[in-house]
Symmetry: C2
Subunit: 131 residues, 2 copies
């Protein structure tokens, strides 16, 4: 699953600011730099140059593809959100919980990070798993 090419160049790490840009593009793609900025600059208090830098870095990291559209570029994610999210989750679980998910879950439970909705959802998922 995921990563069809088999090439798998050591996926360069994506920073938090870069991740914010990815989120916008995962939400809708392709978008121009200006559009991305419209969706971010207010929230993060960034200026367009900042967004452009981040886009460029993401392209150079292989996380985004560009596609010329007249004078500007359209940016599209190459890295899939589920891959990113999976990697980051695994990373955290490995680092903080010795790779085991249960202690993470316990922590979230204790810190009231679990809503009733979450709990219901998780029960449903557990039921799925046991089938």
């Amino acid at each position: 699953m995921s990563s069809g090419t088999g090439i798998d160049k050591a996926p360069e790490r994506i920073s938090e600011a870069e991740h914010a840009v990815m989120e916008v593009l995962w939400h809708r793609a392709p978008q121009t730099a200006v559009e991305v900025c419209e969706n971010l600059c207010d929230a993060r208090d960034w200026s367009i140059p900042t967004v452009k830098t981040l886009l460029a870095r993401l392209v150079s990291k292989g996380a985004l593809a560009t596609q010329p559209d007249g004078r500007r570029f359209l940016y599209t994610p190459l890295l899939e959100r589920s891959d990113y999210v999976g990697t980051e989750s695994r990373r955290l679980v490995d680092r903080l919980f010795g790779g085991r998910a249960a202690p993470l879950f316990a922590h979230l439970a204790q810190s009231e990070a679990l809503s009733a909705q979450d709990i219901a959802e998780i029960e449903r998922l557990l039921a799925e798993l046991k089938k």
Copy 2:
């Protein structure tokens, strides 16, 4: 709970390398710089100076306390592991899953990051929660 003083100076972020040092001290404390190194330098391929730098940074960030022991120092965590782990977990859940734990759980489930043991444990915790 946790953080008894009420002072709560914006806890400076602990980097990954620093975290590795904290882990060692959470495992056993207090320890000297050399002892910490004995527990880390091999695994991380670090030299003693590196460990000392990290220890110093952690002290300056308020995550470790020092206690003189003859000519050297003994280092003890001030930051509790559960606090750190809680903060980091919440951080991830917020950033990647809009603060909801269920999607994280779903991801771990999908990526086979859940062992049978994990699942059993989580079921137990869920039962707890519902009491």
